[in-house]
């Protein structure tokens, strides 16, 4: 996995468990209700492994890595 990868969130699936913010605080913050706010732009290369871990850890499979050019919403 290299190049322009983005984190995307399926907002309907996301229940605000917050593991993504726990595992990837560099790119994911939480709003006042515990739902993730993802930093805009592609994932820097040195964080790709952590991003993959966060995707794997999401209990509802809402977080995904996309190589497309559409940024995370």
């Amino acid at each position: 996995m290299s190049g322009k990868a983005h984190l995307t969130i399926d907002r309907i699936r996301c229940d605000g468990h917050g593991l993504c913010a726990e595992l990837l605080p560099e790119l994911v913050g939480l709003d006042d209700w515990g739902y993730p706010i993802v930093a805009p732009g592609p994932i820097p290369g040195h964080l790709l492994a952590h991003a993959q871990n966060a995707v794997t850890a999401c209990p509802v499979l809402a977080l995904a890595l996309k190589r497309a050019d559409k940024p995370a919403r």
Binding site: D10, R11, I12, G16, D32, W33, I37, R73
Partner: protein, 401 residues
């Protein structure tokens, strides 16, 4: 300038125009199949449901798919509470809408049509059902009417597609886009009833005849009652105000585009052209054509609090940032209205309205915070200095929460 095209003919307030009168007045729509896509494209017609997307380009992108016969969803849900133009059109000119639906189906080489009508629009429903029963064309004989729940978000196009396909009126996560896989997994066209009625006339009279085109406007707060006007695109806000009957009190702010739109101070608004592209260039929207006038005794904070409460209650509760965020924003706005200004709530309104944007599966939260941000700008003074329990109209107290 007032220009009657969709509403030309018998007085629209006298009820539905039947098929005989419709055909006598306008003739039958021409049978030109998919060649209509070029005509619609060169007319420059944009969607009248709110997004103002070019209609011809949308049809072309669906015609290009090869995933079975497309589905045509005729959108008469009209969930925007202040808008009346779709139901007026469906009630008065049902055959114009059906002509457009049939022409769209023929252009996309399909016979699958669903006509979605909001459940509270009873006159429109009766008129459309009666009109459908009069039509001999194969596409229209097979068309079904789907009654949509009276929810704001039910008119959102992915929610509409979801509802027609499954009976659940909730937005879905995209992609896939409905152009690729909508109702029954088919490429799906969702088109507002007014857009289709314009197509019915463009097919008859040509792209050149269309010119700038007309648009249906619902004027609220001018004159005695809300009214639906048909005006040429580019008509100014002032002309609409005057045509709608004007007002006996000075106007202080104008809500352009309805609950998904934005407040504009009256001074800046009067000369604005009602044209989706010109408004978009100014960071505004015509939305579904609602123009609301707030007179000088109205309170911008209280009016905004009331609308935010409504928008929060209309979240389909699927996405956390929308469900919790809009509720919190409505609460904070109401607190300022009820208990007076406080810097904490004001700071929260600014921060949350930035954070919530873009974080739902559909655009409902985006529209709501765009509306709120315009209120914070136009009524900045009132948000900062709102006294506790201040009522815009003391004779008509209104409880917000």
């Amino acid at each position: 300038m007032i220009r009657q095209r969709l509403l030309a003919g018998p007085d629209p307030m006298r009820g539905p125009e039947g098929l005989a009168s419709h055909v006598q007045r306008l003739g039958h729509p021409p049978s030109i199949g998919s060649a209509l896509i070029d005509v619609v494209e060169s007319s420059g017609l944009t969607g009248r449901g709110g997004a103002a997307f070019p209609v011809g380009a949308k049809w072309r992108s669906i015609a290009r798919r090869h995933a079975g016969q497309p589905f045509v969803v005729v959108n008469g849900a009209e969930g925007e509470p202040q808008s009346m133009k779709d139901r007026v059109l469906m009630t008065a000119r049902p055959h114009l809408v059906l002509d457009g639906a049939m022409l769209a189906a023929r252009a996309l080489r399909t016979s699958r049509i669903a006509v979605v009508i909001g459940e509270s629009h009873r006159a429109a429903l009766a008129s459309m059902a009666a009109a459908l029963a009069e039509r001999p064309e194969r596409e229209l004989r097979q068309a079904r009417i789907v009654i949509a729940p009276a929810r704001y978000v039910a008119g959102e196009s992915s929610a509409l597609v979801h509802f027609v396909g499954s009976g659940i009126a909730r937005p879905t996560t995209r992609p896939p886009s409905m152009h690729e896989a909508g109702v029954d997994g088919r490429p799906t066209l969702v088109q507002n009833v007014e857009s289709l009625a314009h197509v019915a006339l463009i097919a008859r009279f040509g792209a050149g005849w269309f010119g700038a085109g007309t648009v249906l406007i619902t004027a609220v707060g001018a004159g005695a009652a809300p009214g639906v006007l048909e005006v040429e695109l580019g008509t100014s806000v002032r002309e609409v105000f005057e045509a709608a009957g004007g007002g006996s009190r000075p106007t202080r702010a104008i809500l352009l585009g309805g609950y998904f739109g934005a407040w504009v101070g009256a001074g800046q608004a009067w000369d604005l052209p009602l044209d989706p592209v010109a408004l978009r260039d100014r960071g505004l929207t015509l939305g579904c054509g609602v123009v609301g006038f707030l007179h000088d005794a109205g309170c911008g904070v209280c009016e905004t609090a009331r609308i935010m409460r409504y928008l929060a209650s209309e979240s389909s509760a699927q996405c956390g940032p929308c469900f919790f965020g809009l509720r919190a924003l409505a609460d904070a706005t109401a607190r300022i209205g009820e208990r007076g200004s406080n810097t904490e709530d004001l700071a929260r309104l600014h921060r949350w309205s930035q954070e919530v944007a873009g974080r739902g599966a559909c655009r409902h939260p985006d529209g709501a915070v765009m509306f709120l941000r315009s209120a914070l700008a136009v009524f900045a003074e009132e948000f900062a200095n709102h006294p506790p329990h201040w009522r815009a109209e003391p004779s008509q107290p209104r409880r917000i929460a």
